[in-house]
Amino acid sequence: MPSDVPAVADPEIAAAVFADHLTRVQTGEQARSNGWAFTRLDPLHVVVTVSGKRQSGERDEYRVKLGAEYYDVYPPTTSFVCPPRPATGNQPAREGWTEAPPGSRWLPAVAPLEWFAIHPAYSFPGGVANARDGVPRQLVCCSMTFEYYISSHQPNAGQRWQQGRHTLGATLTRIQDALTSEQYQGPAGAVDP
């Protein structure tokens, strides 16, 4: 059966390109002015701390996990994640960086923009890699994320990710713009699993 799922990138090449782009973004003026903080998990993954600003001026921190599984033929895999934490009185420990569920404090609520939306529980087509078959998962819906290309979207030529032109910086700037737009509403909820 033919698959619409792109082939994964050679991990060594993807890691090298990802590292190069990551260094350029991390040391740039836009990372400084936006206050992005980078936590490298392994050669193919990084978590970036970004902040949203509500119309009231209140700020909220989020963690965005970017992956280079298909990089840079395709944009990075992208999801908002919950940060690890130790166990406390009434909360269990959280190990690793787990995808922020619907209603999570770690998932931003953004009213749909023409160029960006966050779907807390999106039903990806069956058989699509990077999506749990039959189980809705998060979709950061923007042509600068990998998941956009496996979810039946049809960007025009000028909107499509272009290898050599775009870097993971494009993913971060789009997210940052959404989180500082008038459409940003704050965390999706109070769930902190």
């Binding site: 350029r24 040391t27 740039g28 939306a117 819906c141 956009y148 870097t167 494009a170 971060l172 789009r174």
Partner: protein, 114 residues
């Protein structure tokens, strides 16, 4: 030292800029900063005020190693005004008319979503 192309000099990221006197004639050269949202890189171009905005745009494309696409936008960071429409103006004319006094532009390509 930066790299100079057709009178427009690309400044290195850490290169200090010597302020030139800015009077009614805007000095001889001004620094244009362009933030590229497609790569999250930012460049600075030292531009003679007699250069056309179109030349600055060409230098920007060359530095970012991209070709112009119909969905691209180049705007002033302060007020969001489109820069492309002033391509035929010189930098001095652009400033004389009161556009984008801090010369900080934002470049971004098209984005699909929702």
């Amino acid at each position: 030292m930066g790299v100079e192309v057709d009178g427009i000099e690309v400044l290195a990221e850490d290169e200090a800029v010597t302020a030139e006197p800015v009077g009614p004639d805007h000095g001889r050269r001004r620094v244009v900063t362009v933030a590229n949202k497609d790569s999250a890189e930012t460049i600075r171009l030292r531009v003679p005020v007699t250069e056309a905005i179109e030349s600055v745009i060409e230098a920007m494309h060359a530095e970012f190693r991209i070709e112009r696409s119909a969905d691209d936008r180049l705007t002033c960071r302060g007020d969001g005004e489109d820069v492309y429409q002033y391509g035929a103006r010189t930098l001095a004319q652009y400033l004389d008319e009161g556009h984008c006094p801090n010369l900080h532009w934002v470049f971004v390509g098209g984005t699909g979503g929702a």
